[in-house]
Symmetry: D2
Subunit: 283 residues, 4 copies
């Protein structure tokens, strides 16, 4: 969670000897203490290297420019992509929702209880139903009715651009255009109500019932142009039996959805998720 | 498990009032005590009704003809399909295997320990590799090399027809023809190394790795002409992370496969699985 | 869930031949259709027998007296305890809470969404903190400050006696006297924040951290004089690692607590839980 | 698993700035590539620090003395405990067993399949029953009948001292004396057939049945003088119901035991387990 004078350094580059030592050396030289360090190489030899380092540095704000300059030097040498995140700056999040409230409420509730390190700056919906519930948490609720797609997305982009660091689709039952996803300027996390890649597409619970599966799942993933194909962040399942109707499967699944989405948003908020091709590394 | 003078009565019919009373009445009239009774209706109104009743009746063998005559009468009245299974007659099982031994060994081992109420009467393989391991359990091992498909299946049918009550495909890496499945004259249980319907088909672990899923699963199902589409008996999953290679996923998955297959075979052996369309009811 | 003209019949007696047939016969004779029937015998021979039968009977209210008379006749013959619950009469529930809101909110929220078939008729607390949150659901909140134990319990009994069918202790951090539990006149469900019987008593999360356990659990049970020894209704666990602090274990555990308590209350509401000595049978 | 020219470096010391950099610097200076690095600090400030680093170094055997000298220098500066493990040297393991074979067979079987990176150099038992099964794996079986405790332990120590790196109690139903555990000269892993600290002591399944728990567990831990109090390495549970007898709970539990023990032994074999007081850190 957010702590004063604490930052998270993410790096990604082709695997090669000396990366850990070089980065740790720069941090030590600036007096930064390593609180935790996690890394992952995709292959024993010749793969991609990822590292997340949480550091503590007294007077972080003042020391940051010099530290960044040194990191940049190392990054250039190793061909790294990198980013440094001050933990005291919480991510600004917009939540998109339609009529189902369970995922939305779980996020608002956890934030209120101090369990989720984000700022929910707005909730956007194509239905007015949840206005009162959302405003009860002190969060703005903006109703943009479905209609002309282009006009609708234009209004949404006005709200989002420059104002948010993350968009969460909390069972938002509208399809987003590729163009829209690209122009938001922030990552988008979606919750899909099945264990992907099983039951890609619509009505997964009805299809799960028909197919007689013994486990019901949910998948949180980054939204991409191809909606159900984005990199998976988290998944979970719960056991069901033949005696449960499609409606009961939906109710059981809703409990999985809200926990899976909450974990995915939390990990993203803590800069623990790195996208690697079609998959993710969770550090 | 098998008990003297104990039988399992399975019935299936369209749901209608009075079924439970009629069946229980017949059983009481013949002096049979109900040890357990499980039933399931697919809908509150107008669906399909399934019931599994375990009964104890002193002198079952002698009393059976009269009991069956009475059951037949009730069954005709309600339009029931039914079957009565003496628990002292264990199902005769043939296991088909290729080179992977983990599912095979799990079944042989559980049977030897008295945890699995079946008689494994033969193991059939297209490879000779596992002959010694199988014969060490006192079970015949028959090697039928892959080659001309028709000739191979003809030899297999000679072995199976009339000799087995169940065929288990314990990671048997050969495709069975529709005709073969129909002519065996016994149900066939297959273990698929994924959480169906995700990753239908070949190489599910490689595809799971590529897709970055967070859970690895296995599915035991009845084999039908459309191999990965048969009614699902049991499924389970285990959690994995980005740090596991495709080979490690395979190893983790193998542990799930053997437990899922063992449970499915056990439930089938106890007459607990009823097929209903594309799904199953487990009573 | 509640349905018109639907009732649940619970029976318990010493196991003996003919019970199922006798009960099913009475139901059939009154025109009641069996929607579902679950039974359990504690031993193959000579144990205790439990049965839960859900029935549909047109004009239940009018037909009930005659049906009950017939059931009473059978019950006397077999020495049965029995009860008949009209599903349209939802149980009236009082929730006791202190300052932790997660279990309380889960119950109120599920009830509001139609997922929990109870009427929460009051929330009683020794702290005023949660008044606004509770009243936002349209539920009365009564603040009875801790103080003289006898006076406090006397006020609580005034509220409860005759007014509730169930009391739920949703992390209520006060000890109840034996006398109080007896005089409430309704069952009491408590949620304990550990996998009982591990970590009986106070501060289970701190002790779990110290002991280095790898799973954190929660237990919902009926409260008895010996608080953590009552019959267990439901338990579950979640995996944790050495990297989580005692505070994080508490947060992780809170997610388990609310799901476990919600399931236990739901099963009780559906008359699915029968107490048998120190344990329960869930039908 | 074991790889040529690969080693695992474990360190533990009081937390302080610069540890990661110092260690990474030494490794880089000797040309060792970091394959993976995991670390853990018990507290944000002033706790204990643990790190496991897997390195690859061409010509490890020849380079090792110089590398160790440099590590020793850093270790002295930071007050570190440390050890360097060549992955090509597999741990020599003795398995102690009585009559239950499920945990023993699981270990032998996994080793044979190449899933468990250990050398089982002997199986020691107080019963002769499993001799043939063990020798079938090409592993020596030594039968030391129970009798005079001191004489029995003396014979066992003769076998173990200097010959093994790990002792695994795979459901060994004899109590070990404190003196014996101390004199073995190798760590001892025990599998306890319950979710510790619930049901410490004998007959946990019977007591679990009596108590009506809804989950059955197993715990693998290092054996200490106080047998069921040693540091926990791994735990897991499986869901059970009222309908399962104590014997069935035992059978269900056996499946959990063998998986939990196999995971614990594997993690120990990979030098991933560090004892910290009464608990463990798994890196």
């Amino acid at each position: 969670m957010s702590q004063p004078d604490t930052a998270r350094l993410l790096i990604a580059c082709d695997d090669q000897p000396g990366i850990v030592a070089a980065v740790a050396g720069v941090l030590a030289q600036h007096g930064a203490n390593i609180i935790s360090l996690d890394q992952h190489s995709t292959d024993a030899a010749g793969g991609r290297f990822f590292q997340r380092t949480v550091i503590h540095l007294d007077g972080l704000a003042a020391a940051r420019p010099a530290l960044e300059a040194s990191i940049r030097e190392v990054a250039d040498r190793f061909g790294m992509e990198w980013s440094l995140h001050d933990t005291s700056r919480r991510k600004r999040v917009a939540i998109f929702v339609s009529k189902y409230d369970h995922c939305l409420m779980e996020l608002l509730w956890r934030q209120q209880r101090g369990q989720l390190d984000i700022d929910v700056t707005m909730v956007v919906s194509n239905h007015p139903d949840l206005a009162e519930a959302v405003r009860g948490f002190g969060v703005p609720f903006i109703h943009i009715p479905a209609g002309d797609k282009a006009a609708m997305e234009a209004r949404q982009l006005e709200l989002l651009q420059g104002n948010v660091d993350l968009v969460v689709l909390a069972r938002y039952m509208q399809i987003l255009t590729d163009d829209f996803i690209e122009r938001i300027g922030a990552p988008v996390i979606n919750i899909h109500h099945s264990f992907l890649p099983a039951f890609i597409g619509a009505n997964p619970y009805a299809r799960a019932k028909e197919r007689g599966v013994k486990l019901i799942g949910a998948t949180a993933h980054y939204a991409t142009a191809d909606l159900d194909e984005g990199p998976i962040i988290e998944q979970d399942v719960t056991r069901v039996t033949h005696s449960e109707s499609a409606a009961e499967l939906q109710s059981r699944g809703a409990d999985v959805e809200r926990l899976v989405l909450a974990r995915a948003v939390q990990w993203h908020a803590e800069d623990r998720v790195i996208v690697h091709g079609r998959s993710t590394v969770i550090l």
